[in-house]
């Protein structure tokens, strides 16, 4: 079983559209949408939800006003300034429960918070595991880990060869949770200075966690000078560039119809993504 994680550092470089296309190209894969606070893979894969599971991983403090004597001990002990005038700020509370332990009246209890939902869906391309993190909730990577574990379970039970993970932007906890233990990662970049700057940061995360990385350049015809910069950087780092995908309005057309772009077989992007998948699958088999 091989896990392939698609990341980018910078958002909006085309991760989800590429993963959606991989879905239609890979014949033996389970898909995991690990961008849990902006989960879009289900929008282009005709997903039909089969099971829904509540996600409770965090706790928040609640003060029982009947028992509270307003001594202020909880306020003093809270490192997150989440308690003011005996009221808990839901957004600031990190669930450390120190307040409940210091309260002399036993007036503070910790309550489970439903911070999202986990979905297992059927798509014409294979099973899809995805999630919805409630807006404003903490994304410590726990929901991401649950998405990955569920996908792994399905892959084991049903004998799938690949798990393809659509990762989140950035380099923080949800990215680390999407990446650790993966067989390989594909970094989707584009020839803009922003994307290159973030490519460098996210590659150092891959190196830190010892996950082999490959690169593909999306919208490669935008600005040649930056394609050269990416090529040079990848050479220096010993990272292989597996694909160059041109800017193609068919990507948006397909998206509006809720389809991956590879369903337009004649389109330039579609042809390059097909080649990219071929090369990537070849490399990953050897790892």
């Amino acid at each position: 079983m091989k896990t392939l994680t698609i990341i980018s550092g910078k958002g909006g470089t085309g991760k989800t559209s590429i993963v959606g296309s991989f879905a239609s190209l890979a014949k033996n894969a389970v898909f995991a949408d690990c961008d849990v606070d902006a989960a879009d893979l289900s929008l282009i894969t005709d997903a039909r939800i089969k099971t829904v599971q509540e996600f409770k991983a965090s706790q928040k403090a609640r003060i029982d006003v009947a028992k509270c004597i307003q001594c202020g001990d909880c306020e003093d002990a809270c490192r997150f300034n989440a308690i003011q005038n005996c009221k808990v700020d839901h957004f600031l509370c990190e669930g450390c429960r120190v307040c409940s332990l210091v309260c002399p009246q036993g007036a503070i209890s910790m309550e489970d918070v439903c911070s999202g939902q986990l979905f297992v869906s059927d798509t014409p391309y294979g099973p899809l595991v995805h999630a919805r993190l409630e807006p404003g909730e903490e994304n410590s990577g726990k929901l991401v880990t649950l998405v990955r574990q569920t996908a792994e379970q399905i892959a084991r039970d049903q004998g799938f060869e690949y798990i393809i993970v659509d990762g989140p932007p950035g380099i923080g906890c949800p990215v680390i949770a999407s990446l650790t233990g993966a067989t390989a990662s594909l970094i989707v970049t584009e020839p803009t200075l922003s994307a290159i700057s973030d490519l460098k940061r996210v590659l150092s995360v891959c190196n830190h966690f010892k996950v082999p990385a490959f690169v593909c350049v999306n919208r490669c015809d935008l600005y040649q000078e930056n394609v050269r910069r990416i090529t040079e950087f990848c050479q220096q780092e010993g990272v292989e560039i597996l694909g160059m995908i041109p800017y193609d309005l068919n990507v948006v057309r397909a998206l509006v119809r809720g389809k991956p772009v590879v369903c337009y077989t004649e389109s330039a992007a579609s042809q390059q993504i097909t080649k990219l998948w071929g090369r990537l699958a070849e490399r990953v088999t050897l790892l």
Partner: protein, 280 residues
Amino acid sequence: MIVSVASGKGGTGKTTIAVNLALALQRENNVKFFDCDVEAPNAYLFLKPQITHSEPVTTGCPTIDGTRCTFCGKCAEVCAFHALVVLKERVLLYPELCHDCGGCKLFCPQNAIGKKERKIGIIETGFAGNIAFFQGRLTPGEPFSTPVIRALKRMVSNDAIVILDAPPGTSCPVVTTLEGSDFCLLVTEPTPYGLHDLSLAVELVQKLEIRAGVVVNRADIGDDKVDAYCAKKGLPVLMRLPYDKELAIKYAQGVSAVGVLPEYQQKFFQLYQDINELAR
């Protein structure tokens, strides 16, 4: 006035909007720009600030005094984040899981727990023309970006127009960025992705009780469902920017619209007037 720029979906043009807004306003106003996307900070590429000051951001984590510890296990019991594991004659610490809540230190019966600081990123400050520039950078490999954003936001003061460039998504780093804003600009694109993630971002600003308006970027691609959604929700669409290949190439090079097309100066100035009206 504190204006935050957020989006839900990544790559819709948050930084483009935030930077152009700052550039358009700097001639006649004091502007402070904060790049709060500390995982992938990019505004510096466009504003090209001179960084004059840099300081580390640290977070605390416990130290165990081996001569006092009796391996009673109280610290591990108290830690809600499983950052401490107590074995027979050893205490294992996973610093990257520690939230620095101080619980272990508070409850250790032997007073065996101290605190050390661990660097997880940096804050850099400087000037880009008249714009006071502030950015945070999370060290690659570190998971928690919110302490860096918090450290950065301690430098926010209300004596200027403050522009906060938020990270993508709708989870804790975005909440930390948006808190205290007078107005939030939500940048989206007219595609199913843009609409889906905009609707999550709208849920978030409503929870946080922050007034918001929408900027539709690449307004001529995709479909018209974002407009229909905004109309239904009563969300003002404050600006529409068409896809412009020339500007995209300039963007690729780190050049902003306001810098090359004078009409954008007026457009973004007007955007701020609209924000000012709505934030009142």
